[in-house]
Amino acid sequence: MTLLKYAYYPGCASQEITKEANSSTRLVADKLGIQLHNMPKANCCGAGLLTDYDYDLYITLNARIFAEAEEMGMDILTICSTCLMVMSRAAFDLKNKPELLDKTNEVLAKAGLHYSGNVKVKHLLWVLANDLGIAKLASMVTKPLGPLKAAPFYGCHSLRPSDALGFDDPERPWSLEAVLKALGAEVVDYTGKTKCCGFQVDLVTEDTAIEMTGTRLLDAKTMGAECIVTPCPFCHINLDNYQSAAEKQLGAEIELPVFHLAQMVGLALGFSASDLGMSRHLVSAEKILRR
């Protein structure tokens, strides 16, 4: 079996506001034999905001991240869907437009860097579903999650744009469902699972963001979900932190605990709720975890 080792890019959110996602990922990866190597130089991918500011700046700063991974000789593993999308779009453009790669390297050279254009960006979800494999993952589960009804929430950036990401099917995605099933959970299907959580406009048009978050949560709740699992820290911020605001705005009781993907895997691998930093969630998961 090939050694699973990656240049680890947790993303800004998971280093601060959702650091439980980061610490859980490290625990889980260690247990599963996935090596995560730090990227001490890595800058922020821009979360789309740098793209709004200046395309060339966005591309070059992302190429700087790729250059570090290239130096390490590894693919990048991120636990943030937005980082995944933003970096994948940059990597895709750099791969498909040789003149852009040349132009970018001209700028990188001023900082003494070079990127040759071959880094792959992967999400923890893909590594679990593909590189490690569903069967292997299932074989390592010590505390199956059943009979927990979990609603997968992909959000946008782990699925689209599909040409740049090139992994799951944005219309009939399978990876998160497969992982959850391997962990022993019962998967709840609902229409909002591939839609937007609203995070990108939290600080711009807040009411839209809250209504969007609430709509997704209610959608999952209606289909019988007991909790939501997301591969994205930004989706987590909205679904969890904005849940009470959404309850108020939509006039509905929701109370759905939201888990990071790594936390769910961690539970099935035998880690405790406190190992996995669950006290940091605003919507308490206690009711579910006590069972």
């Binding site: 601060e16 130089k41 890595a42 709004d52 950036h157 944005p170 990108q200 600080l203 711009v204 209504e211």
Partner: protein, 328 residues
């Protein structure tokens, strides 16, 4: 092979159709058959009351966008057998975010009105600049910048899938904004600044939630999101920054320059301004109790931040040089 379809029916003028319902049909599909051909064969041989828009049958006219198994596609460019194999069903519905008039036909009036709002035509200078005797030369590179936005066939697929439009009906939407970029990004355009001012107002470019659905479901590769990103860049370059969206972007740009990564506490503060930040205190307290309030001072700088700053400076220098070059 036999394929069963479920088609959403609605006709407010009849007693039975007043409430939408799904009607089952069955067709004999041959290889290469499109969903549109299936619809036409149903209308021709089984049920002439089934209404849908269609014209060219070759993804040029933009009439036949519908929801196929939950996602917006052109009926004429979707083959029915592979689609059925993937989804294991064949549910056809009118596009979303539009009012349904009958069956698969929706009201496009709001679509056209929004397009009108961005003034979908070129606004060249009123008088020719002195000394210009020839037509404006458009280089390959200049054309490339807006090329994707010109491919729009106005089928409404992007607006149907737009997650922001689903919540905020007043949002201009990806189709109109892609069209706006087609003109703002044109080197012959003179009214760009004015346009960008209007587009930066409420329900304009900053309403987009970056869900990428418009890129995924455009049948022509228009990439409305890319157009919106370009409009945002141009608006900021033009100094139109008195809105939450632009402030948010600038805060991020400065944060990355300063520490190499996102400084969330500063972001909130800068985007919403002091007053709204104060308004967020109760929420902040709850976050604090769970250890979720971001602390700006805890943010360590990334290693080799000087490389990042060099990149900033170099891009800035390049942009300045590009501006100096005379146009046309």
């Amino acid at each position: 092979m036999k394929i069963d379809l479920k088609i959403r029916r609605f006709n407010p003028t009849t007693k039975n159709g007043r409430e939408p319902y799904y009607q089952a049909y069955s067709i004999e599909a041959s290889e290469g058959m499109t969903v549109l051909e299936a619809l036409m064969s149903i209308a021709a041989a089984q049920d002439p009351t089934l209404s849908f828009r269609r014209s060219c049958r070759s993804s040029i006219c933009g009439s036949c966008a519908i929801k196929i198994n939950g996602f917006t596609k052109l009926a004429c460019s979707t083959q029915i057998i592979p689609e059925h194999e993937k989804a294991h069903e064949m549910v056809l519905e009118p596009i979303a975010n539009h009012t349904v008039l009958k069956d698969l036909i929706v009201d496009f009036d709001p679509f056209w009105k929004k397009l009108d709002k961005v003034k979908p035509y070129l606004m060249p200078p009123e008088t020719q600049p002195e000394g210009r005797t020839k037509e404006v030369h458009i280089s390959e590179k200049d054309a490339e910048a807006i090329d994707h936005a010109q491919k729009c066939i106005m089928c409404g697929s992007c607006n149907s899938e737009c997650n922001a439009l689903e919540i905020e009906k007043k949002y201009l939407g990806p189709a109109a904004l892609a069209k706006a970029w087609r003109f703002v990004g044109d080197v012959r355009e003179e009214g760009g600044r004015k346009r960008l001012g209007r587009l930066s107002d409420d329900h304009g470019i900053w309403d987009c939630v970056r869900c990428v659905h418009c890129v995924e479901y455009c049948p022509k590769g228009v990439e409305p999101l890319t157009a919106i990103e370009r409009l945002r860049s141009r608006a900021i370059q033009e100094g139109i920054k008195d809105n939450h969206g632009a402030k948010h972007v600038e805060a991020m740009v400065n944060s990355v320059k300063k520490v190499g990564r996102l400084d969330e506490a500063a972001m909130t503060f800068k985007t919403l301004g002091l007053l709204r930040s104060l308004g967020m205190i109760p929420f902040g307290l709850k976050m604090e109790m769970h250890g979720k309030m971001p602390h700006p001072h805890l943010f360590p700088q990334i290693k080799k931040i000087d490389e990042v700053r060099t990149i900033y400076a170099e891009i800035k220098r390049k942009n300045k040089n590009a501006k100096k070059k005379p146009k046309g």
